[in-house]
Subunit: 236 residues, 2 copies
DNA sequence: GACGTTACCTGCGCG
DNA sequence: TCGCGCAGGTAACGT
């Protein structure tokens, strides 16, 4: 019986954000706990991070407009703006996020009637500048499951988006499973038949060197799965 | 003993605003009284104008922003905004100024928390338009010493600013005083050894023709001093 | 809509 | 060098 671990790649139309798992972009505290991106698992680590959404930045998002447009459905799902009973209240509020270093970022969040869009304004340009974000780079948002008032923001470089599109990497055992190839199916694609250890820090994938973190998932069974969140280290 | 009047030029780092003394921009009533720019004299004509400050206009001050930024230290010195007991009150109020024709100008005056600056807003653009003010032109503010609720606003053209920098001209008598030359000392610089009469309307200074007004000052003694507020008439 | 008014926001220069 | 002031913006809304 085959017991060596294999790596499966699940093709995803909307891959989960890998951002939060880049060790360079995670606070030390957050790096020490088991993370998961899944929102369907019924077994959560109390400090699990719940990813909310990510957005590839447009030129405007990183330009002189000093604002980030938040896609409406994400905004309304994750950052509801209560229209205050006070008429002077315009519904704008300040959201506070933690970044990979634990630094707090306060952004003004409001709805622009003129453009029918939700935006982060005040504070946003400082974030863009500090992280050296450029068009095509991706920002991700998440929150702590236990204390849902704790919000997180992360980012990754444009070039890393390719790795992101590679989707979740599932490390499991192949016993009895038929190996799948190709990107269209429901089943994982085995892209490498042997991985030295589950918590390997580096992976060569599609000719690209990746750093990644793996996190324990208790489902689905019978395949013990992990998710890896790759980050491009170098392109040979 | 030499008794003919001499003109002294006091070099000044911050020359007093000459604006209010341009007959073209002063009301007839104001032209008939002796003006002085000094705020230290103990003998004031009851209708004396106390100059407050002047500001060279920026492109923004005369542009589409429809506001004049008042330099903070001037604003806080001359136009204190009482922070109302009501928290919703932002301290905005309406200031009313008289111009050179006696016309009343009402400007909204308020503090912008966001930019930490004091501004004249509503009404300002009308003033800019009527006076045809452009970037570099200078506006001046003053108040009546006797009735300090009377505020005045004046202006002069950009090109007239050079004469302003010539500083105060002091007309006196040289008896017994050693003549000083150069700009660095505490003593006045005699720039012309004879002036036909104290109330001369024109002065040629540094190759520049100036119109000027002189005002009676009772101090300091023993030199009877005057202050002249020159305005460039032509540059040969 | 166009425009004016108010109320925000930020880069940058300067002391 | 770093905080502050302000020049130069934008957003929202009333008219």
């Amino acid at each position: 019986m085959e017991t060596s671990p294999h790596i499966y790649i699940y093709p995803q139309q909307n891959p989960h954000p890998p951002y939060f798992f880049h060790h360079h972009h995670l606070s030390k505290e957050m790096q020490t706990i088991p993370w998961t991106l899944t929102t369907t698992s019924s077994h959560h680590h109390p400090n699990q991070l719940e990813p909310m959404f990510e957005k590839p930045l447009t030129p405007s998002d990183v330009g002189k407009l000093n604002r980030l447009v938040i896609p409406k459905h994400h905004a309304e799902t994750h950052f509801p703006l209560v229209s205050s009973s006070s008429s002077s209240e315009k519904g704008g509020l300040t959201l506070c996020f933690e970044d990979e270093s634990g630094k707090q970022w306060r952004f003004r969040y409001s709805y622009w009637n003129s453009s029918q869009s939700y935006v982060l304004t005040k504070g946003w340009s400082r974030y863009v500048k500090e992280k050296r974000l450029d068009a095509g780079d991706v920002v991700s948002f998440g929150r702590c499951r236990r204390d849902r008032s704790r919000l997180f923001i992360g980012w990754r470089r444009r070039d890393e988006a390719a790795a992101s599109a590679a989707a979740a990497v599932v490390v499991g055992q192949t016993q009895g499973r038929r190996q799948q190839h190709g990107w269209g199916g429901d089943h994982p694609v085995i892209i490498e038949s042997a991985v030295p250890q589950v918590y390997s820090k580096r992976l060569r994938l599609f000719g690209v060197n990746l750093d990644y973190y793996v996190t324990d998932r208790t489902e689905p069974d019978p395949v013990r799965t992990y998710q890896a969140y790759p980050r491009i280290v170098s392109i040979p």
